[in-house]
Symmetry: C2
Subunit: 279 residues, 2 copies
């Protein structure tokens, strides 16, 4: 259980808060283009009086987080697994404010959002953490890169398959080497269905759950790798969207059957060039 | 600026925290099936010493939140708009712990996640709030219902179109009555592209941004309606998935080209019955 703070510590923290309030308010104003502080419904500024945003990131160990997130998947699903894996590591290294975060707010993200199969929860939970510790513009770049990376690598990773086989994970419900597939999409439904189709396992199988637990560890570990690079000033975005995206958007982003500009999901996964242009 | 707390208030809060720590720990254990407290990487328990989860929901006014979320869309995108709209309202009514939440962690969710077009950010931000104030099982039901509702109603709502025309919103960048469309999907790409195709506006148009600002208000307001009902004990889930879902899953959930069970997105939006069974 957490040790109660002393009066001396409390007074010191209060003094820090007053300083943080000024810094925090200023940074929020800048990030919101100066509009944040206007009117009665501006962004929450209360937290600035306690801990200014972004919260302080400290470099983490990718393998420690891979194991935490893998275990936490079994505690609360993929979104919680990634988010709590990352936040709990920061809570151990940094302490407050990470100890104050109710990580349970991510439970809903499992199965692509209440089981709806939309955004992979491991991506969603990792993205929340990125935006907790990085400014808005940089977070957008890092999260976009994370999504892109997710679509082209194989899950589970060799590292995770190896951990499982050698009983190196913190929980070991399954020690099989699981089939690896490329998801081609950040969507849970596509990622899971593709793995199930190729592996022959049902979505309800324990092996599928273990595949997603390993994936959760892999995504959280990749997030650490990127944030460590960002902290060192060496992060570079390299992902290039599928050729279908640029190909289709050469017409579809300029007025003919408008689509949302900037979308990077592979068009050909849902659209059929021939079919959709006929009907 | 926030008033510093007195020593008397601090001591009273500390006493409450000790009580909350026990309650919080107990509830986390129950919700995580008893596994949450085992091992060195269990769920963060630090926050239980300060504010136990779920955080205390107080009934809100749907129209106040619709206006906050609409305005906050312009401050930080759809995900932030919904989340900050809801959290700021609770911060005003309840105060702490909502004043402590760094709502900026939701910036990434705009445009379906760093612009990737996956889960609608207004849904993502609203879902986070639901899970911040409601236990895991109930949140899953409420979020699932919110997603379902989103797929069948028209956006922007009549209420939002009316607010804009009568200059009732807190910001009024556009007072046109905007075309209403049914999204048929919780995905940003589908929702936005469908509206653009039918309205004739490009995704980059100011009118499309205003359409999403109104939608953000509408989704946050619906979230309030559901949470108020939940608080009153009158919430009932009524959404029924499209017939294609149950139809396709009668085969595809039992071993023939396995798909993730429970997915509720309309299969026919991406799959073509005839085409996909031929090739």
């Amino acid at each position: 259980m957490k040790r109660p703070i002393t009066r001396k510590e409390f007074l010191a923290a209060t003094a820090k808060s007053v300083a943080a309030a000024s810094v925090g308010a200023a940074s929020v104003t800048l990030l919101a283009g100066g509009r944040g502080q206007i009117g009665r419904v501006g962004p929450i500024t209360g937290q600035a009086a306690v801990h200014s945003w972004p919260w302080p990131y400290a470099k983490l160990d990718t393998e420690d987080v891979r194991k935490r997130a893998h275990k936490n998947y079994y505690d609360g699903g993929c979104c919680y697994g990634a988010f709590n894996g990352l936040v709990s590591a920061l809570a151990e290294v940094v302490g407050e404010p990470f100890t104050l975060m109710p990580t349970q707010l991510t439970y809903f993200g499992g199965g692509g959002g209440a089981g709806w199969g939309t955004l992979c929860g491991a991506l969603n939970g990792s993205a929340m953490l990125v935006n907790l510790v990085v400014d808005r513009t940089s977070a957008n770049t890092i999260v976009g890169e994370l999504f892109g990376w997710y679509t082209v690598v194989t899950f589970p990773s060799d590292v995770s398959n190896d951990y499982a086989e050698r009983h190196q994970f913190l929980v070991n419900r399954n020690d099989k080497i699981l089939l690896q597939t490329v998801s081609d999409s950040p969507l849970c439904h596509v990622s899971v269905s593709s793995w199930c189709t190729h592996s022959g396992y049902r979505a309800a199988a324990a092996e599928r759950a273990e595949r997603c637990a390993r994936l959760t560890g892999d995504v959280a570990a990749k997030t650490v790798e990127m944030l460590n690079q960002f902290k060192d000033g060496t992060f570079r975005a390299t992902f290039v969207a599928a050729s279908s995206v640029t190909g289709c958007q050469s017409c579809h982003d300029i007025g003919i059957g408008n689509v949302q500009s900037g979308v990077k999901m592979d068009c050909n996964q849902c659209h059929r060039q021939k079919w959709d242009h006929l009907y």
